[in-house]
């Protein structure tokens, strides 16, 4: 039987990762997606601090934030913490 996966003799022990974690995209786990109201958002960066996956970035050049949907798992913590209720979670 051929497989795209390596056999047990050819892999590193102890589950040592064969790829960098940045190459494992986990954004497709999400059910809910954060949608930001640009009018209400004050760029206070509370969401950046609270995102458990570091999936919200501050872009100093644009003086704005950016959601990285490749890693956002849709947990909704950002929406919950946002002081101006600028983030809503959408199915």
């Amino acid at each position: 039987m051929t497989s795209k996966y390596k056999n047990w003799k050819d892999i590193a022990p102890a589950g040592v990762c064969s790829k960098s974690s940045t190459t494992f995209l986990t954004g497709d786990w999400k059910t809910y997606t954060p949608i930001r109201d640009l009018e209400k958002c004050t760029r206070c960066l509370t969401c950046v601090m609270f995102c458990p996956d570091g999936a919200i970035r501050w872009l100093p050049d644009k003086k704005d934030i950016e959601f990285d949907m490749s890693f956002c798992k849709g947990c909704g913590i950002c929406a919950n913490e946002c002081p101006t209720k600028a983030i809503k979670m959408k199915l």
Binding site: K6, P13, A14, G15, C17, S21
Partner: protein
Amino acid sequence: MTSKINQKMMALAGDQAVAYAAKQSDVDVVAAYPITPQTIIVEQFSEYVANGEVETEFVCTESEHSAMAASLAASVTGARVFTATASAGLALMHEMLFVTSGCRAPVVMAIANRALSAPLNIHGDHSDSMAQRDSGWIQMYAENSQEAYDLIIQAFKIAENTDVLLPVMVGLDGFTLSHTLENVETLPDDAVKQYVGIRKISTVLTHEGKQSPFKLDPKNPMTMGPIALQNYYFEFKRQQEEAMKNALNVIQDVNNNYGTSTGRTYGNGLVDAYYLEDAKVAVICLGSTAGTMKTVVDKLRKQGIKAGLLRIRTFRPFPMEAVRSALKNVKAIAAMDKSMSFGGNGGPVYHEIRHALYDSASKPFIVNYIYGLGGRDTSPAKLSTIYEDLQKILEKQTIEDPIKYLGLRE
């Protein structure tokens, strides 16, 4: 066999012998939590630390779960790690035992074997370590304090061998060994340090596609044991089984080369046979019971009874071939279990022996004796009755009761 090294005779209880061996083995980290009857080990070791006799980092943890977590964490950085526990402490470590073996961390841990609650009992039996026999740890059991001392030193050689890289549990019977003073021949510090050497680190292929030392190091970042699902988990478990198979050879090599320099070997390292060449009836046991059993065998031999004894020194990996070959001429066998496998139709040792001999040509009679639970005393007179029973089985050529309880009020 004679020793090439000048050794010093010391009066040590089992726990002290273990602590002394760990002290001499150049251990980097000890993370532990005290529990009877193991307490003397960590107590003694903390004294070595306080007196500046060792350079070991001693971590007093808040529980055994944490002790094993800390031991694992230290071990995967390439450090040599020792810890000790017993009974409920080992049970509390249960989850972390699998993480430690799965991360291939060669931690060495002494277990002063003790019963499990309830009802509460602090005395010696094998319930604690037998309950962890499938945790991926190598398990070895000492017959006396001398062997407990030798086994700790050997355990580092076995665990850290790069073909093995598995944690090792060294069992010594609670109180019977842990708290009983014995003459122990000890090696000089530098001889032990030289024997165990510096821990060798193998290399692994990392996510950057290069071979890096297999340890956590900020300069060479790698992730160990994070997640492996349906596509890879199975493969990692198969690797652990291969490491267990490799350990069978490594344990024998270590037993031989340790014997060359110290004059002390224990059977072939896996099993220790006593008068088995021409034995018709034989008993199989673990740990200190073998010491008592040898006096019983001696007595029976004087009466012309062809009695023998097989001590299982290495229980995991279970030495199938060695057991089969040691018992090839025996007609009736009693496997002794100092623990219960509730509902399992006999204890763990009995299961393994029956499993090992199922394919043997000789097809001997095999019976099970559960004994010594909660430290119940097992005298030579009581042990003698096992050989009497075995002889009766041979006379009648049938087993009336395959599972018996030795020393139980019935």
